[in-house]
Point group: C2
Amino acid sequence: MNQDIGYKLKLITDKLKVRADKDLKQHGLTLSQTRVLYFLSAKGGEATQKEIEDYLQVAHPTVVGIVSRMIRNGFLEAWLDPENRRNKVVRLTEKAHQFVKMMTVVSGEHERMLLRSLSPSEVCELRRMLDLILENLERS
Amino acid sequence: MNQDIGYKLKLITDKLKVRADKDLKQHGLTLSQTRVLYFLSAKGGEATQKEIEDYLQVAHPTVVGIVSRMIRNGFLEAWLDPENRRNKVVRLTEKAHQFVKMMTVVSGEHERMLLRSLSPSEVCELRRMLDLILENLERS
DNA sequence: CCCTGTAATGTAGCACGCTATATATTATAG
DNA sequence: CTATAATATATAGCGTGCTACATTACAGGG
């Protein structure tokens, strides 16, 4: 069990989340929330809640929670699309834009810390293997 | 962000948990609970709650919850160690013993599914890299 | 035009992580 | 022997994931 790949992946994910959340806490953000920040910023600041769901690859009630907390904390604003009132459009606030760069730096630091004892070719190989594993999970 | 190793690890961990929990649900178990089952079984059926905590590498309130639910569902029984009343000793029930083999089979199937497109030497390499990443997380 | 189906969102309730705080017990220093 | 520190467990409260169910809005066929 200690040698299970799945178990190791879980340990890494948990520890990385704890560290990232700790670093982000002073800004009122969490790791999951920075992923929404990143996605919206890359999309020009605006997206549908459904598009966030597809990007994060989580179930829709999870997105409801994350978006609600980000609205509550002033990072997002949202309204119903008048063209299609099923869609909830979500946009980064001015405040949120100021955090995008910080968030990118922090996440880059974590990534470097994680991989610091691997060579560039090893990192490339690792990425390839993780993609294969993700495919195995999806195609089955 | 889509290329972040940390993000890929998170996606894999989430999807594996969903699949494992689904397969285990019919037996009234979850993935985390099977790890407790495995640990206790390997230790001869009995351990302290603190030892479970050290094995799982999670914060102690998390163990309180998992152990409580396993007691509620008849997989564990617990009592205070009369030698040292700070210790809560936890033991597998008869019912739980009957699930150990099933649990081992299920977890082996998941591991094979996960890794089915990797060669044995790649799996070995992957395990080595994940151990390095875990070390990076702990020594920093 | 209505009826049925699909799509997007929401709510309820749960499991499992966490931090912060409290309590009980044991160990140790003075 | 007593005061203090350390250890193990518990509780409160929160964030993020899930499933199951409900609601609202649009789309298409009859």
